[in-house]
């Protein structure tokens, strides 16, 4: 894959050092912004360094902390500080907790910036996660909260070999099965490399013995025959699937399937889709909470609900040597008089896209940091269909189909397999220019487009579609974007300043982490902030 000089990769980036380590392993990413990856994956996540529950104790009697935001960062901070003995109050703009850990269900209403209102009409039990939808096995902190509060998890099917890979110019626009693309890419590449070895082109690289091992590995990895060819036979069919599957009794004999043409497969660029499940942050086992991503945030919320005030729009954060004073308005009544909340300390988890518009008393370096982070575009659509046609007609159970259309991908529910009735599919999940474009449309126009494009992969769409809902994150009134988009330069200049305790104020949230857009980043930043704050308080400043 070649990188054009102006390609932009919109995925969240973590620390420069970590990225460099990872990039030596994953040669095709980093500088190379392949189209699928530029608009699909969320970049690399360093292994969480969580080492178990924190046990803060002995808060000074009467000491109080104001927490701004009841997303997962604010909720975790509230929970842990209260456990330590602090008096805690949480101010939240929305009328619910969870922030971007949001699950939309039938009956939910959502009004986006601009006044466009959508009403979710999903059937009972069906849902859509417009924000985070997966939790990697190595996101130890958020998984620990799920465990501690009894939130059931189930596998999220990241890789489904029977899902589709589609390119508008690939194989005449006909979607190909993932298993065909993967097996054939591997098989053809193995055959080529075996030819190179057998043609003595690797003699400078490998000893004869090592070349024999290489050939052995290529035969195994690429399903090559005895002559090191990738061909139509049971070897390749045992990877890619048969034209006629083996049966029972006197059913027809199995018939091997024919691999895709090598050169056409290479030119199609469909191979871009087959790396996604191999990335560390997407490897099995990857989870989702049963019943919706918000279940974890809700479980933490239940621990602290008596101290959470909803409908509070923060307009000013002031501090002096005596304490913190936050001015907040009624989020639904601009005419109501503003109110004040005071405390000894403050943990602010408001996204920087919003915080940069609020008057904050803090050092210049912290304020510069707050203003240094643009927010990335992201878009998702959830579609309810009358029946689970992807299972019934196409035998796709969970997982993701990929496309180079603006919708970028279609994801099938990792739950309720084989059950009769309706199902909700994620009809699009995309970053970059297409995310801006979908966000800029009115909701009905978005759905029209998502359906028109998806129908190129699933012709059943027109007959089976019932209703849908979409979220373009720049239109979300309490987020103004999907996640904080740190550049390397901004990280070097501002990140550490952002994370300092500034007088009586500390920040937390995914933007204050090296795991942008992941809940784990939000949780770890909150844990780190409360520990440092508590240490400072206990030491008497």
């Amino acid at each position: 894959m070649t990188k054009t000089t102006n390609e932009v990769d919109d995925r969240p980036r973590n620390s420069v050092k970590t990225r460099r380590q990872l990039l030596t392993l994953a040669g095709e990413v980093g500088g190379v912004a392949a189209m699928y990856q530029a608009m699909t994956a969320l970049g690399f996540a360093a292994e969480s360094s969580y080492s178990g529950p924190i046990n803060l104790q002995d808060a000074p009697k009467g000491s109080s902390v104001l927490i701004l935001g009841a997303g997962i960062a604010g909720l975790v901070a509230a929970y842990e500080l209260r456990r330590a003995g602090y008096e805690v109050t949480v101010l939240e703009y929305n009328r619910r907790a969870g922030g971007r850990a949001w699950t939309i269900r039938g009956g939910d209403e959502y009004t986006e910036l601009g006044g466009f209102r959508q009403s979710c009409e999903f059937d009972e039990g069906l849902y859509f996660n417009p924000g985070p939808w997966r939790i990697p096995f190595h996101h130890h902190a958020i998984l620990d909260y799920a465990k501690r509060f009894g939130v059931a998890l189930e596998p999220f099917i990241q890789v489904n070999y029977n899902a589709y890979v589609h390119g508008r110019n690939a194989f005449g626009g006909k979607p190909q099965r993932y298993r065909h693309v993967q097996a054939d890419y591997q098989g053809h590449v193995a055959e080529l490399l075996a030819k190179a070895a057998n043609g003595h082109q690797l003699d400078a690289e490998l000893s004869r013995e090592d070349q024999d091992r290489l050939l052995e590995s290529l035969r195994a990895w690429g399903a090559l025959d005895r002559q090191f060819r990738y061909a139509t036979n049971t070897n390749s069919s045992d990877r890619r699937g048969y034209a006629v599957d083996p049966g029972g009794g006197l059913m027809p004999d199995a018939v091997p399937s024919e691999p895709l043409d090598r050169n056409e497969l290479l030119r199609s660029r469909l191979w871009r889709a087959i790396a996604a499940g191999t990335e560390y942050e997407f490897q099995s086992t990857i989870f989702q909470p049963v019943g919706g991503m918000d279940q974890i945030a809700m479980a933490v919320y239940r621990q602290v609900k008596d101290v959470v005030r909803f409908n509070a729009k923060v307009t000013k954060i002031d501090q002096n040597d005596k304490g913190v004073t936050v001015t907040y308005a009624d989020a639904s009544d601009a005419g109501a008089p503003p109110r004040l909340a005071t405390a000894d300390w403050c943990i602010c988890t408001i996204p920087l896209s919003i915080l940069s518009q609020i008057e904050v008393t803090a050092s210049q370096p912290m304020r510069d940091a707050i203003h240094a982070v643009p927010y990335a575009a992201g878009f998702k659509a959830g579609l309810q269909f009358k029946r689970k046609f992807w299972e019934q007609d196409e035998h796709i159970y969970g997982g993701i189909s990929y496309s180079d259309l603006p919708i970028n991908r279609i994801s099938y529910p990792s739950t309720g397999y084989g059950q009769p009735g309706k199902g909700v599919v994620v009809g699009s999940y995309v970053f970059g220019p297409n995310a801006f474009e979908f966000s800029a449309m009115a909701p009905q126009e978005r759905l029209r487009e998502v359906l028109r494009q998806g129908a190129q992969i699933h012709p059943q769409y027109p007959d089976e579609f019932e209703n849908g809902i979409s979220v373009g994150w720049h239109r979300v009134p309490w987020s103004n974007g999907c996640y904080g988009l740190w550049s390397e330069k901004a990280r070097d200049a501002h990140y550490k300043n952002l994370c300092q305790i500034d007088g009586r104020l500390a920040l937390a949230g995914e933007h204050a982490s090296y795991l942008p857009a992941w809940q784990e980043g939000a949780v770890l930043s909150a844990l780190d902030a409360v520990q440092r704050l508590h240490a400072r308080i206990k030491s008497g400043n």
Binding site: F116, R117, P406, E445, R452, I469, H474
Partner: protein, 139 residues
């Protein structure tokens, strides 16, 4: 299938567009011209109005009226800061606060086109358009 009632917003008023149900009886009608959408990491549109519709509209809204929520997006309609073309181009290229820059996703021609568009629409009446060369000098 039910039809959708749409109340069209008057030019400078941000009206609530209520959907009784997000159903699309015309989703597959032949007379729908699909919007031009980009293919790849850069915007494909070249006309200023099309670029506005493709991306700026998402935050600054269809009539440049801006928006208010927990935070806000500034209005472009009648915004005195738009008088200074170089300022607008700088913001579009490099971003400002929570707004991302579009310099990596748009060419000099595209940036000039969208900047000139917003400065001559929404009640703005600048008469000194930027050229692509002007934009290039600001990168």
């Amino acid at each position: 299938m039910r039809s959708i009632q749409l109340r069209l917003a008057p030019a400078l008023v941000c009206a609530a567009i209520c959907l009784a149900a997000a159903r699309l009886p015309s989703a597959f009608a032949d007379d729908n011209v699909p919007p031009e959408m980009s293919y790849g990491p850069r915007f494909i549109q070249s006309d200023g109005a099309a670029l506005y519709r493709a991306t700026c509209r998402g935050c600054h809204m269809p009539d440049g009226e801006g928006a208010k929520g927990a935070g806000m997006y500034p209005a472009l309609a009648g915004n005195p800061q738009l008088v200074t073309g170089a300022y607008v181009a700088d913001v579009v290229l490099h971003g400002r606060n929570g707004m991302p820059g579009f310099g990596d996703r748009m060419s000099n021609d595209q940036v000039a086109a969208v900047v000139n568009y917003v400065r001559t629409n929404f009640g703005n009446q600048s008469t000194d358009p930027l050229s692509a060369a002007d934009v290039a000098n600001m990168r």
